[in-house]
């Protein structure tokens, strides 16, 4: 309501000029960050995005000289509120961190003291520094918790950090960071550990706070969608350098640096279906900071590289006011004219669904009916110790039914703790089911893997989430791929080596990798080996548990492409878990949405991503961060966190958080008492809700792309 243009008046809160940061290592000084310059004004958020190891965190810690024993600022200048931060005494910096600069990290528990109630920790900020009386401090804390939309703040003050959920912990940390009314807030991946729905709420909160408190924010994330949602301006980092810096709309609409363009091409988009596209990964990988190419750091991976790029290191220059890039040819390069390099793989492929319209889908290869997996929960009462008393069960998977036809991919999405992984573990036999039926190619697989036939085991393989744990560090790549080949006798022993090499090639690695140890591989490479190992036995069904969520976008794109290609070649059926709705959309023919151990909606992918939605699916879609600032999403946010699966809510399990209940008569009282019916929306699309389909059909799509 008033006329001051946000942010642009007067001096920036922080100005970083030609910053260089190095770590001392055994190999000598490693220059992790070089020539980084930017400034942030009041009430402005600068997003810093880039792949892992590009120096984002190093910049953040460098600002407050928190670089640990072996890191130090070797060049450049940091001006905070008109005064230099470089070379200030530890004591001065400490005070500054307390009074004017706050930091929020990915893991909220690094900032919270586990043995002190939340309220006391928060109040300490005020009582110690400002000598504020205790009860006054408490009132302030309460007010601040309300400010960050904490449900039931008074109770939260009394709790210990481990007694509140991850999203709430992060809110406490943010509230704590704001208590001092800092001029600069540095946030390093503050939402990376959170579920999409919680993340969305926290991002909203950050945007509100920036406006109300006029704080300058440095927001670091590897997720372009998140960056698009919170930033005013965006800096793209690559291999320790800032390669592009521009206003958020401009950066996404008209990226000028080939790296930025490449990043945007790697991303699966919500709007793209499995049939319509292949992702375009950036080839190669980020160079280690001690092995940089001589010229432009991006040159080895750049599609536009030419002689000049190898000769000199480009400087960050302004293309036009407010848009800077570190590429010699930014003016000429036309991102729209880009075409995938010839060797990148096949053109977009046809839908894997049966082509003929009337053709029956192939017979289901996996049939799951009423599957239940309960974990025994040690009861807290003293009787429980004696085995008496009533045993509680965590209903991780509760009455789940679906069928997967041969050669198709079923994607499973849902918040963490909704039972996705348990479902997969039960199918593969790492957990024993507590009830229901699971049939795989006509065999009953209702038992642990140790009691299954080797023939069944062979047909059912799994790809794991964590690249660092998926391979045994004690054995070479070759040994680990060989093992299933020998165990399942896929090929005669004499041909094992040749087969391993073939598999390595299939996952786009060459035979040199045979003798490598996992520690010599990057995350993406490890994940590929994991895929090769799973597909080695030519299984009929592969279960993938978040196989790309720990990978950088460019690597993720390559791995997704690979999965899709191998699947198509071997006509494998796949179950694919992910919390990322865009990834699921990209890879799946059918999608199931899970909430608290149950499937609430299932159907063909395109049906799930368009109305009629189940209210839970709708909120998920409203929350996904979309890497395009022009896309508008309905502001639907879920309250609270997922209830405990120990005592799931009665009736519809979603009723405690459902934003659409009020569409029903009496505010949806029926949802609390009666389990909803399965409603058929046609084409195999079913959803589990009391709201009549007609009403749901009438709702607007959540995601609106600008024409």
């Amino acid at each position: 309501m008033h006329s001051r243009p946000p942010g642009k008046i007067g001096q920036p809160v922080i100005r970083v000029d030609q910053l260089g940061i190095a770590y001392e290592t055994r190999q000598g000084l490693v220059h992790a960050v070089r020539e980084v310059s930017f400034e942030i004004h009041r009430g402005e958020t600068l997003g810093l995005v880039g792949e892992s190891g590009c120096g984002k965190s190093t910049v953040a810690y460098g600002l407050v000289n928190y670089l640990g024993r072996n890191g130090r600022i070797v060049r450049g200048e940091i001006q905070f509120q008109g005064q230099s931060l470089v070379g200030r005494s530890e004591e001065e910096l400490r005070r500054l961190r307390g009074d004017q600069i706050s930091m929020v990290f990915q893991d909220p528990m690094t900032s919270l003291n586990p043995v002190m109630p939340v309220g006391e920790q928060m109040a300490e900020v005020l009582t110690v520094h400002r000598a504020m009386p205790k009860d006054e401090a408490r009132t302030r804390c309460l007010e601040m918790l309300r400010r960050v939309y904490m449900p039931d703040p008074a109770k939260v003050l009394e709790r210990y950090p481990h007694q509140i959920s991850g999203g709430q912990q992060q809110r406490v940390v943010i509230a704590m960071a704001l208590l001092n009314n800092p001029a600069l807030l540095v946030m390093d991946e503050p939402t990376t550990a959170l579920d999409v729905t919680v993340e969305a709420a926290v991002l909203d909160l950050i945007a509100d706070l920036r406006r109300d408190f006029d704080t300058a924010i440095l927001f670091i994330s590897h997720n372009l969608g998140v960056i698009a949602r919170v930033s005013n301006r965006v800096g793209v980092m690559y291999a320790g350098e800032l390669v592009e810096l521009a206003a958020v709309d401009e950066l996404f609409a008209d990226p000028r640096h080939p790296y930025t363009q490449g990043l945007l091409r790697c991303l699966p988009r919500l709007g793209r279906s499995k049939a319509s596209s292949l992702l375009h990964p950036i080839r190669g990988r980020v160079p280690a900071p001690d092995r940089l190419p001589p010229g432009c750091v991006f040159e080895p991976r750049c599609d536009y590289a030419r002689q000049a790029c190898r000769a000199e290191r480009p400087a960050l220059r302004a293309l036009r006011p407010g848009h800077h890039t570190r590429c010699l040819f930014s003016d000429e390069i036309d991102a729209a004219a880009w075409a995938p390099p010839a060797d990148e793989g096949r053109p977009a492929v046809a839908d894997s669904r049966p082509a003929a319209a009337g053709g029956d889908p192939p017979a289901p290869i996996l049939n799951v009916a009423g599957l239940k997996t309960y974990y025994r929960h040690p009861s807290a009462s003293p009787l429980g110790v004696l085995g008496l008393g009533q045993t509680d069960y965590v209903k991780a998977v509760d009455n789940v039914s679906f069928a997967v036809p041969k050669g198709r991919t079923l994607g499973i999405v849902g918040e963490s703790g909704c039972g996705k992984s348990t479902l997969i573990k039960t199918l593969i036999g790492l957990e024993s089911p507590s009830g229901g039926r699971a049939d795989f190619i006509g065999f009953d697989i209702n038992r642990r893997v140790s009691q299954r036939d080797l023939a069944i085991i062979r047909e059912l393989q799994m790809v794991f989430q964590n690249p660092d744990a998926t391979m045994n560090p004690s054995y070479t790549v070759g040994q680990q791929i060989e093992r299933p080949l020998r165990r399942f006798k896929i090929v005669p022993p004499a041909q094992v080596h040749a087969e391993v090499v073939r598999l390595l090639r299939a996952v786009k690695l060459d035979e040199h990798y045979y003798d490598r140890f996992p520690r010599q591989l990057s995350g993406g490479e490890k994940q590929r080996i994991g895929i090769a190992r799973a597909f080695a036995g030519r299984p009929d069904l592969v279960l993938c548990d978040e196989p790309v969520s720990a990978l950088d976008v460019s690597v993720q794109a390559a791995v997704l492409n690979l999965l899709m290609e191998i699947q198509r070649e071997q006509n494998t059926t796949m179950l694919f878990i992910s919390h990322d709705l865009s990834v699921v959309r990209f890879l799946s023919d059918d999608v199931a949405v899970m909430y608290l151990g149950q499937i609430v909606e299932i159907g063909p992918a395109e049906a799930i991503y368009a109305p009629p939605y189940h209210p839970y699916t709708e909120s998920l879609l409203a929350a996904v961060p979309i890497p395009d600032p022009t896309v508008e999403q309905e502001p639907i946010r879920l309250e609270g966190s997922v209830p405990s699966p120990l005592h799931p809510p009665s009736g519809c399990r979603f009723h405690t958080r459902c934003p659409r209940r009020n569409l029903l008569p009496a505010g949806g009282q029926i949802c609390e008492t009666t389990e909803p019916p399965w409603q058929e929306a046609g084409g195999g699309h079913r959803l589990y809700c009391h709201i009549p389909l007609e009403t749901l059909r009438g709702l607007a799509p959540v995601v609106k792309a600008q024409a």
Binding site: H2, S3, P5, D99, N180, G322
Partner: protein, 229 residues
Amino acid sequence: MLVKDYMTRHPILIEPRKHVTDAQRVMTEAGIRHLPVVGDGKRLLGLVTRQRLAIQPHQLASLDVWEITRYLADLTVADVMVKGPDLHTISPDATLEEAADVMIRHKISGLPVVEAPGNIVVGILTETDLLIELQDLLGAVDAGWRVVMRVPDRPGEFRKLVRAIGDKGWGIMAMGSVRTPKDPKHWDLILKVRWCGREELLDVLRGIPDQEIVDLRETRPPAAGPAAG
């Protein structure tokens, strides 16, 4: 219209132990005239202003050239800052009028905004901020017609005017009233009207009985602020 809506948040601050030359440099570089001096926890200790940085003549007189240099070299922010009873502050929840009153009464051009308890600095309010408010009040920020009407001092005149414009579906962006200078029987009403043309506006205004059009002109928004690099 409260101080907290118009103050500059996160003002540049300085510590009392800092050197006067540091303060001088910071103020020149940032182009500011008031520099709050704070201790631990941003508690306000004093305020450095431009005048305070100039050496007082009576101090100068008693010093010779060498001593001046030394005197300057030893001077800290704590030595020159405004403090004690001369230091005036305002709360973020005070109204702008209150702030203006303090500033006029003590002939000062800026006030640190502090929060009780502990006098924590949360912002600074300067003459510029008050002028911005005036600008906002008079609706100078958006394009439209600036009308000054002279009306008799009696009930109902205000309503007549607003009604006449409101009936047409035009918008009133801003409005203010002062007693006509040197004419206590009349009030001057100033309003900014938009979504209409000059002639139709004139027609309507002329049609209001007993009211006189003093001034009518078109205003445009002030030039955009300095582009930040």
